[in-house]
Symmetry: C2
Subunit: 312 residues, 2 copies
């Protein structure tokens, strides 16, 4: 019987593990085996240099940061299993979690399985991912690579508008590719967006090919009304088409929003099931940063400690 099982291996999961470990809860972590389509360590392992994780003034490689966090979790007394939890039973406490044929019982669970950036499966996308194509303008936009270049954003929602505005600070031109002929962003944000002289909107348009050898150079686009195809310059392509939270394995046993994000009590990691806590991107479609995920991992650990004190 475990005190706490942590599912995940990104900044939220490891911060939870560090705090649970130091509280002598002997946490058991399932870091997953290519769970959610990414290596253990989570989304940061798909990035290169991270300049905005506080404490590393010269920046740090995403995978290197996650290796440091993993080492710290182990130092603090975490047991880490490299397997994926593919099923849970939250109907009774102690809870059960399953990894293939193995099963485990636990008094509490921290879900930190993250979210996976949606891709569009455009030809060339795989090859140029993180070589000009990014799913996070806030994370990557300020990199020297993108300065004074033509950058392209795909999407028509709040995120697309925010990311385009963010990128105007670095780019020479920001082209926003919108599939329809309307934006789904707030009015106030749209005003600023349409006033910005660096922004150009390509309505009714799809990107149909990404072109480049070692890094992104051009995009082939198609107007989905006229059928006209053309090639545009693009040193950066930012997807603002949403993320998919990794919650399928929960089989609707826990309350989520309509996109599948776990609903937590605002300002906490408390879910609708006492003893089950959620942190990081699996419950956050808004901030989605390594440092916010880490902060919420700490909150989950402190809430688990309190829960165990009150119930056992």
């Amino acid at each position: 019987m475990e005190n706490v099982i942590i599912i995940g291996s990104g900044p939220a999961a490891h911060t939870a593990a560090i705090y649970c470990g130091r509280a002598d809860l002997k946490p058991l972590m399932f870091e997953g085996m290519m769970a959610g389509g990414v290596a253990s360590g989570g989304q940061l392992t798909t990035t290169t240099e991270i300049e905005n994780y506080p404490g590393f003034p010269e920046g740090i490689d995403g995978s290197a940061l996650m290796l440091r966090m993993k080492k710290q979790s182990l130092n603090c007394g975490t047991t880490i299993q490299t397997s994926t939890i593919n099923k849970v039973d939250l109907s009774v406490n102690p809870f059960k979690v399953f990894s293939g044929k193995q099963s485990f019982t636990t008094h509490s669970i921290i879900i930190a399985t993250g979210a996976t950036a949606r891709r569009l499966n455009i030809p060339g996308e795989d090859k140029l991912w993180q070589k000009g194509i990014s799913a996070c303008a806030v994370c990557d936009g300020a990199l020297p690579f993108f300065r004074n270049k033509t950058l392209v954003v795909i999407g028509g929602g709040d995120t697309a508008v925010e990311e385009a505005l963010h990128l105007t600070k670095f780019a020479s031109v920001v082209k926003v590719v919108v599939r329809r002929d309307v934006l789904r962003a707030s009015k106030a944000m749209q005003d600023k967006f349409f006033r910005n002289k660096k922004i150009e909107v390509l309505w009714n348009t799809n990107v149909i090919k990404t072109i480049g050898d070692n890094s992104l150079e051009n995009l082939e686009i198609k107007n989905n009304q006229t059928g006209k195809e053309s090639i545009i310059e693009a040193s950066g392509l930012f997807y603002a088409v949403g993320h998919t939270p990794n919650t399928d394995f929960l089989e609707k046993q826990i309350k989520t929003d309509k996109s599948g994000y776990i609903i937590t009590k605002p300002g906490s990691t408390v879910t609708n099931i006492p003893g089950v806590f959620a942190c990081g991107d699996v419950q956050d479609s808004k901030y989605r940063q390594a440092i916010t995920a880490a902060g919420s991992g700490c909150m989950a650990a402190l809430e688990v400690e309190k829960f165990l004190n009150e119930t056992n």
Copy 2:
């Protein structure tokens, strides 16, 4: 006219600065001159080794971590002034902030002035602060220094009970010094507390002197009913008597709770004044960790960026 002024210099303030800087908002930070009674860098500068900040598997000195964050803020384009903001005018936007005779105008403000652990001004306390005396059991309890020793907690509220339970994992005995003859902690938590064989409560008791040469060794205590004084062994003394948020300079222009903590919309850093955001311990009496503060600093920066996009 500034886009954003950041008041404070702890993990919340510097994370906000890193993100605002990278968003090209050219943040101006006032790190303070012994504001709240601590050096710039905030409460972490009063600690020694930090083992629970994710990313540093071997631990890091509190002041060293804050110097790294400060360097990162500067690298990202933050201007830092070493002076204290002692007055603000939030009645109109652009807001005004004052440092002595200097005044500045700004479209937005991030308040990250933190909180200061209350001290009891017991004789010997100053000399032995962080040499056996700590204001955070979760931060310091697991340090080797405190293992298998007699540890003492002062306080009678939820925090005191939680911290005592936390310390039982490392200590041989935990003595809880309670001024009155009753605890103000939740029933569920008290059950676990009174069942724990390592915990001993000293009711109606005050600590009147802390004794030790290079580190804490003994406490002189006094029963405030009988007047009886005695000396007890103590390798650690943990204050759980609350913190004072550094909000006096706001002169009640912003909504706070009765203890003076700024009230933010849960799960955000939004205050009751549009354009003024609060992050870190100045709005958090619950988690109070470096990593949670840093996470909320990032949230504040993203919220400022959105606010400026929507209003300017």
